[in-house]
């Protein structure tokens, strides 16, 4: 397999793992959103690697544009929720969001 594809793939996997690390270990809501964003960047790289491997950049670009829009809407809504949570609970620590418990 082409070296460039392997490089894109390995970097994508590394970014996904770093994002998951942030999601698992951090307690600040803003950092969790940044973790999600880093995972999204890794997934974008893996998509690109798939496109280069199949030599079909046009198709991958169409998927990437959709993915970027999904990522943006997700980030916007999550940031809105963070502002709201900060207003209600006075903190961004996920341990303080006790009202979410069922």
């Amino acid at each position: 397999m082409n070296k460039e594809i392997l490089l894109l793939l390995s970097c994508g996997i590394l970014l996904v793992m770093t994002g998951v690390y942030m999601l698992v270990l951090y307690r600040n809501l803003l950092r969790l959103i940044i973790g999600v964003e880093i995972v999204a960047k890794g997934v974008t790289l893996i998509f690109l690697a798939a496109g280069v491997y199949r030599q079909d950049i046009g198709f991958i670009q169409a998927l990437l544009v959709t993915f970027i829009i999904v990522e943006t809407v997700l980030a916007a809504i999550m940031l809105g929720l963070v502002v709201r949570a900060q207003k209600i609970y006075g903190s961004l620590d996920i341990r303080n969001l006790s009202k979410l418990k069922g």
């Binding site: 392997l6 970097c11 590394l14 951090y26 964003e37 950049i57 046009g58 970027i68 502002v83 961004l92």
Partner: protein, 162 residues
């Protein structure tokens, strides 16, 4: 060589996002990751996706992040983690080991080359083959706008409180 440098920078900045305590630095690191990703997309001739990444992810999301950081209290802007910061490089080394293992498996599992079957240009794929995606995107953007509006809406109770 340039690809190595760009991807290495992306990984370093993602580690920086784990280490930096100031959320503004983290937001700027994320924006830089987006800019580098856009450059990588341009390198592989994915120009339209690159432009989207640059304008939307590096621009809009960064502005939203910085606005949210400034709207929230200073006391919340400290790195709260279950592990100390000096533990991060060790974890990243473990990740690199796992990554190497996965790549070795992928190299053996996937055939070295495929017969290229290009679907056509971006315009053809986007407007003809995947036209249903456009409806989904419009729905998503609408949902995002309504979500934000409902989150920032001031309720009658809050108005009375003010």
């Amino acid at each position: 060589m340039l690809l190595w440098v760009l991807l290495g920078l992306m990984v370093l900045l993602s580690i920086g996002c784990c280490i930096f305590k100031d959320l503004l630095y983290v937001a700027v690191s994320l924006a830089t990751i987006s800019v580098i990703l856009a450059l990588v997309l341009f390198m592989f001739s994915a120009n339209i996706a690159g432009v989207f990444e640059l304008s939307v992810c590096a621009g809009l999301i960064t502005v939203l992040f910085i606005a949210t950081v400034s709207l929230t209290k200073d006391s919340d802007q400290k790195a709260e983690t279950r592990l100390p910061a000096y533990f991060v490089p060790l974890v990243i080394l473990i990740f690199i080991g796992i990554d190497y293992f996965i790549i070795q498996r992928v190299m053996h599992a996937i055939p070295p080359s495929v017969v290229p079957q290009p679907s056509g240009t971006f315009q053809r794929v986007f407007w003809e083959l995947r036209s249903a995606d456009i409806l989904g995107q419009i729905g998503l953007i609408g949902a995002g706008v309504f979500g934000i509006l409902s989150l920032f809406r001031i309720t009658a109770k809050e108005k009375k409180h003010e």
